[in-house]
Symmetry: C2
Subunit: 332 residues, 2 copies
């Protein structure tokens, strides 16, 4: 293991939303609040829900299959598959194994590390860290060193019992291909650097997703989430900057978990960073849990946003538990 | 990161079972089979179920609190907490965060990597690998480098709808303290070496745990599990031996996941190893999923078994998905 000589890169990333576009007006009527109430409180205008035909597995496979088509990677080149979700639809088998059963029916790959993880809305940052360390531990020059990081969130299966969360969450999956290599590759979108990851105390059981008498439910204490999210992401970003001898002005784009536009604005104030440096697309998707950061990355890497001369970026997330994490990346 | 100069050790391990001892006679009467039917087919005589007063969280905390009392480790010394389960009782918050909220109410530790993982019955071996790589990635001489690996299984919440699985599974948690250090420590029970981990195709959806209309259910295709388990664990053990230039005779004790005594006997035949070299305590506990290997380790490290002059040991596991893994350890 020689981490100092190796580079970790994001080769490709994409996302898939639920099929049913659901603008605020539908929800405002349903929960009985005035027009524009949701946008004023959350910055959200729309979110997508799974249709009755879209299964949890198929949502994930949509992103995975697009990724395999784009990159032309074979399933047997994947050393690690990590699936992050807050909304797993069953206890067993794992989504990671289910995906491999689908994409490698000929069983060409028997040695893929296949694991489901749950760090709620911090699943992508936690997942990147697990991917990084697993790839490092099995690296050899003789083989391809690819990992697949999937996020898959079907929050709509947990909504309907609490207006506080009903207005915020949406459904989406994502798939990211990550490569460990002795050289930075031309086709990479970004390199992944170090992280600052942890967990802080939730004294109020602020975000709970559970099943009660056959009904999935979600309960959220919005104020407690807001206060802890702002404080903790500010702490995490500052700590990671400090470890890297960087200041906030060295980061051209912060890519925060899209929890609520009020939280994103408060972090930008708390860090003293103009909000233009905080990527925000929550208006269109709502909060898609572990999928929110990779949706942002897809937009940044594949759209006109890429024209902006980005250099360093920082992912930062916070979610139920509370589990949080930040990660430094460098745009290519 | 200098893995070659660092050693990973198991400092302590313990387990807790469900409160209700449930011998075969009770189940044989319930499902209407003759006396001794269960023991003949599975090698199991007893298993433990959670009582109505024992919650999922409390089952895990019993083991964690015993571990903290035994080792006198403070919560702030723990860099990583990984919780492995097949039978998580809710989607959010993670068990890892719930445990930290309980054992560190004063919030002395804000930087603990806290993650739930699901690799079914291979959760302990997958978890050890994640722990190893996470500890390596954050190692510094200046701090304590401890990880807590918790397994927590409440299979009884998923039983009652299929005699095939009803007769096999039991409830138990475990807690393992793992340390990364520049020196092998006197108080360690074993050192942890390399692993061979992967996943093979399950074409028959052989082990499924899900919730249907408010009822947790478990379905299992026993024959498919048996055939794949024997083939895959044999493959994994042979591959890990080969990577280490070892032969089966170098391993004084194989510690397999306790799935079914027939599977354990078949692997011992398939590897050409006398069954005395396969640790087996399934008679007493049934199949406790991710908790079965750490229960074996507790018995080996803390009981008269320790008197046997063990040197090298090998953990090997197989479970739903199918996810499998083997790991080489050295007894101290």
């Amino acid at each position: 293991m020689k981490e100092q000589d190796l580079y970790l890169g994001i080769v490709a990333v994409n996302y898939t939303t639920g099929d049913i576009s659901t603008p605020n007006t539908i929800l405002e009527k349903k929960i009985g609040v005035e027009e524009n109430y949701i946008f004023r409180r959350t910055g959200i205008q729309n979110r997508f829900y799974l249709s009755a035909e879209q299964s949890f597995l198929n949502l994930a496979l949509s992103s995975v299959n697009k990724l395999l088509a784009e990159t032309e990677i074979k399933p047997e080149d994947i050393s690690v598959i990590i699936c992050a979700s807050t909304t797993f639809d069953k206890n067993s088998p794992s989504l990671a194994c289910e995906i491999l059963n689908q994409i490698d029916p000929a069983a060409n790959n028997l040695d893929c590390f296949a694991l489901d993880i749950n760090a709620a809305c911090s699943g992508y940052v936690y997942g990147l860290d697990v991917v990084k360390n697993q790839l490092l531990s099995t690296y050899t020059e003789a083989k391809k060193n690819y990992a697949l990081l999937v996020t898959n969130e079907a929050f709509s299966h947990f909504l309907g019992n609490s207006p506080t969360s009903d207005i915020i969450f949406g459904d989406a999956s994502s798939a990211t291909l990550i490569e460990l290599s002795a050289h930075v590759q031309k086709n990479w979108k970004a390199t992944i650097h170090n992280s600052q990851i942890g967990s802080v105390r939730d004294r109020k059981n602020s975000i709970v997703l559970f099943n009660e008498y056959g009904c999935n439910k979600m309960l959220m204490n919005g104020l407690s989430v807001y206060e802890n999210a702002v404080k903790t992401m500010t702490y995490s970003v500052n700590k990671l900057l400090s470890v890297n001898n960087l200041s906030v002005s060295d980061i051209t784009m912060f890519i925060p978990h899209q929890a609520n536009s009020k939280i994103i604005e408060a972090i930008s104030r708390s860090l003293g960073v103009a909000k233009e440096h905080f990527y925000c697309n929550i208006k269109e998707f709502g909060n898609t849990g572990a999928s929110s950061i990779p949706i942002c990355l897809t937009e940044i890497f594949y759209s006109e946003h890429k024209q902006v001369p980005y250099t360093k970026g920082m992912l930062t997330s916070f979610g139920a538990g509370f589990a949080y994490g930040s990660m430094l990346i460098e745009f290519i």
